[in-house]
């Protein structure tokens, strides 16, 4: 069953398109990735999908009500200001705001949700620590916990393993794999690290030269891998 469908979509900044005639479908329960070289437009496509930049043309349809079933969104961690005096728990709690209207206070249920989300990503012990003091990998897992606190059906992540060491990358991918496999969460992530997707992603949307094509991970050829700066099969 299709969860997201893009039909002939163009995306860009101002009136200048970065991507044109993009059509793609993501089925419920899939684990897919937007893959492509740096600057190809992967993040632009993700930002268009979550509604952060308007479509220049085409149509985008969700088979879910975004008001009652919010998206789980994990931004690039550099986009967040480290000077905010926030604990890890306070940041994760923000995920619960998705379902809280104005004047509705954060209650016991929301706190429990945030705690559970932190436990899911293995950061329960760091709840009271300053968010800005976390390592890169821990920050990403905290942001995944924040997205999970929104109780999403669809999790979208922008470069969750960028600037993170191999061990932390593996831990992040293990969390995502478990969420997809055990909880049926649909996952779409932006990456340029092909090796992380082997055995996890059911498909890849290859983004290059303003176009998007769906491929199997195994079918990513040597030339495409070279464009990512990695050997094929790496």
């Amino acid at each position: 069953m299709c969860l997201l469908r893009l039909r002939d979509v163009s995306l860009g900044y101002g009136h200048r398109p970065v991507l044109e005639h993009v059509s793609l479908e993501i089925v419920r329960g899939e684990f897919v990735a937007l893959l492509g070289p740096n600057g190809a437009g992967k993040t632009t496509l993700l930002r268009g999908i979550v509604g952060l930049i308007p479509l220049l043309a085409g149509a985008l349809e969700y088979d879910l009500d975004r008001a009652s079933s919010p998206l789980g969104y994990v931004p690039q961690r550099e986009s967040l200001d480290p000077t905010f005096p926030l604990t890890v728990f306070e940041v994760v709690l923000m995920g619960t705001y998705a379902r809280l209207g104005p004047l509705r206070r954060v209650g016991r249920q929301e706190r429990a949700l945030a705690s559970r989300a932190l436990d899911l990503v293995g950061l329960g012990a760091l709840a009271g620590q300053r968010f800005a003091s976390l390592s890169g990998g821990q920050t990403q897992r905290a942001l995944i916990a924040r997205a999970l606190a929104a109780r999403p059906e669809f999790l979208l992540l922008d470069e969750p393993t960028a600037g993170v060491d191999a061990e932390a990358s593996a831990a992040i991918m293990a969390v995502l794999s478990r969420l997809n496999r055990d909880d049926g969460l649909t996952v779409l992530l932006v990456t340029h690290q092909l090796r992380l997707l082997h055995g996890l992603a059911s498909a890849v949307f290859w983004v290059q030269d303003g176009r998007v094509t769906r491929r199997r991970v195994e079918d990513i050829g040597a030339s495409a891998a070279a464009a990512l700066g990695a050997p094929a099969g790496a």
Binding site: R66, P75, S79, T83, F84, M94, L100, L103
Partner: protein
């Protein structure tokens, strides 16, 4: 100690001025928290100056259209209030709208607003010789002139500001910390930004009228900057900012009373001294942690 006891005495002559000082000291930092976190510190300088320009302009209009204003008259105060609010809200909302389009450097725009507001204030005063001394008093922030009714009005307005800040704290935090997430969650980000800016504008304009631009600017920034050094949670950050603001306002008031100093500068000096002391102590603590004896 005897000064503190005297100031706290029920029949103390300057009780209203003291309470007004503490009110400004508590509420300005609660708004200032967002100025510091959203890196809008220069706005904290420019907006009180803009508010002062609004006061000078409204009194000039009063003299031009109605006639010479009476020193301490009710119509003066009303006009000053309207001018301060109109200029501050107009300024903050215009700057916010321009920030979204953002082609020029934000600091340059705010710097220009400060320069223009400062120049206009002096020009408006110069054009209104009837009330020059009175306007200068208003612009300095005549805390000592606080009356029971003006204090009640100030308390009511700032009380509403605090209630709204508390009621929508999670919305203000979300749009300030991660605006993109707020958009993804379908929150009305522009509305929340506007509400926050309006609260800032109201607090600043009432702060300037009660205490002057210097005190307002001082309390917008010094207490939150101090609290940021010693707190690691958002809630304690806000509470500590307000507590430091209120306490330094009280200590500043006592110092001004005891040593016959100008009230506003004394309060800002105390608030700044606390900031410098805490900043020094935290640096020392960090150095000791890095290089233990």
């Amino acid at each position: 100690m005897s000064t503190v006891l005297e100031v706290l005495r029920p029949g103390f002559l300057l009780r209203d001025a003291m309470v007004a000082s503490i009110l400004v000291g508590v509420v300005c930092p609660l708004v200032g928290v967002y100025f510091v976190l959203r890196r809008m510190i220069f706005l904290g300088v420019a907006l009180p100056q803009l508010s002062a320009a609004g006061i000078a302009f409204s009194l000039l209009v009063h003299r031009t259209l109605i006639g010479p204003h009476l020193h301490g008259g009710a119509s003066d105060a009303m006009m000053a209030q309207i001018g301060a609010i109109a200029f501050t809200l107009g300024g903050i909302l215009t700057l916010a709208a321009l920030e979204r389009r953002g082609r020029e450097i934000v600091e340059a725009r705010i710097g220009m607003v400060y320069a223009i507001a400062g120049a206009l204030t002096i020009l408006f005063i110069a054009a209104d010789p009837w009330g020059e001394a009175h306007i200068v008093n208003l612009l300095k922030g005549d805390l000592l002139a606080a009356t029971e009714s003006s204090l009640a009005f100030l308390a009511a307005v700032l009380g509403v500001v605090v209630v709204v800040l508390l009621a929508f704290q999670k919305e203000f935090l979300l749009v300030s910390f991660d605006r993109d997430l707020a958009v993804v969650f379908g929150k009305a980000t522009t509305t929340w930004d506007t509400v926050l800016y309006v609260l800032c504008g109201i607090t600043i304009s009432f702060g300037v009228l009660a205490a002057g631009p210097l005190v307002t600017f001082g309390f917008l920034l010094a207490p939150p900057l101090t609290a940021r050094l010693v707190t690691g949670r958002m809630l304690t950050f806000s509470i500590a900012s307000a507590a430091i603001g209120g306490l330094t306002a009280f200590v500043g008031f006592c110092a001004a009373y005891r040593y016959d100093l100008p009230l506003g500068p004394a309060e800002v000096a105390v608030s700044s001294a606390v900031f410098l002391a805490v900043a020094g102590a935290t640096r020392l603590q960090r150095a000791l942690r890095l290089h233990p004896a």
